[in-house]
Symmetry: C2
């Protein structure tokens, strides 16, 4: 069912669908149309139908999608039907902010360990997790079968942390350090650097203005 | 020179190019080939040439790109040749972490104001900015000509903040709250929710394994 041809853009929309479907499920809504999904998510309904059709034939004409069934399917597609352990490396402001997200992650994905290089932070608790020394990282990652690492250390330390996580057998890295990391091709790397988001937003500032002018 | 047809994926790569080019410039490297850029950034050189060709004819066959010239051009394309003021709404751990990024932003983009709803935070300083009460937001955004807003408030407050920023005339929003915001079509909205990043990474976990199996 899975194919390497699915673009990352499609994959990144699945958690967005999942979140809205979970909201519907909590409100005990049984079915939803691609039109309703599209309206809520500001996406073209045809795009949504196409995205979901990559993975199977989930919708029924005139009825729409069964909310519970679609939640179950998307969770399977995202591998969230199994426990996925996550480690957070770097317990500064950003690391602490991210550890708060454990509440939102729900599902089976969970931050199970936090590491920091600073002796003053080791032993402190953030969100019920005790900060561990970075020297213990490889051993702990292997023992807890951590599959995803989140890097929130300063940029000069990021590559070394990525190397250690890789050597410990991690499968995917979400990097918040504002630097370009090199990892082996079998490790999936996403850069979550917010300066990229912010600088790319600036691109749209003048465009909007130009459109306004045309409209006027 | 600008066109609405440029995909967001291309736009998001421009800051990445810009960052590496700035590194080269600091090392006093005068020219760079698309091969060198591609190797460093893990991108296909043809992809890089295509990305840059959307905006102009910057490279020279057999020589490559003039580093200083390309930096200047990308900064122009991203509107970074003008001052762009940014406001941060929400001074929790995430907001504080993001305010640290002012150092990385350099260029002309700058966080010039921070707001929070909590009276205990108002008046405190983070990275030389005094936290202001959220009630002052609309007035301050207009007075300082803030064009981009970063939302790092809890999800239940995010839509109200987005509405206020919109009414204050903001042009773009980077939203970190894990909720789907509705903004008028003239406001550019990027969602920087890290749970989406993390959940979509999980998609690739089993794929990697399947590949390993095939390789074995």
């Amino acid at each position: 069912m899975k194919s390497e041809k699915i673009s990352d853009a499609v994959v990144r929309r699945l958690p967005v669908y999942l979140r809205f479907l979970s909201e519907l499920s909590m409100r005990e809504v049984a079915t939803v149309s691609s039109q309703e999904l599209g309206q809520k998510l500001d996406l073209n309904p045809a795009q949504i139908r196409k995205d979901l059709a990559y993975f199977g034939d989930f919708g029924r004409k005139g009825i729409g999608y069964d909310v519970s069934y679609l939640i179950e399917k998307i969770r399977q597609i995202l591998n969230l039907d199994q426990q996925i352990n996550v480690a957070l490396v770097g317990a500064g402001n950003l690391g602490q902010a991210l550890s708060n997200y454990n509440t939102y992650l729900k599902d089976n994905m969970k931050i199970v360990a936090v590491f920091d290089a600073s002796p003053s932070k080791v032993g402190q608790k953030i969100n019920s997790l005790t900060i561990q020394p970075i020297e213990d990282m490889v051993e702990t990652v292997q023992r807890l079968k951590v599959r995803i690492g989140i890097i929130t250390v300063p940029d000069v330390e990021a590559q070394r942390v990525a190397d250690q996580l890789t050597s410990a057998g991690i499968e995917a890295i979400l990097n918040f350090a504002p630097t370009i990391l090199k990892v082996p091709s079998e490790v999936r790397l996403h850069a979550a650097d917010f300066t990229t988001d912010l600088l790319s937003l600036a691109y749209y500032l003048d465009n909007e203005k130009e459109n306004d002018k045309h409209d006027a």
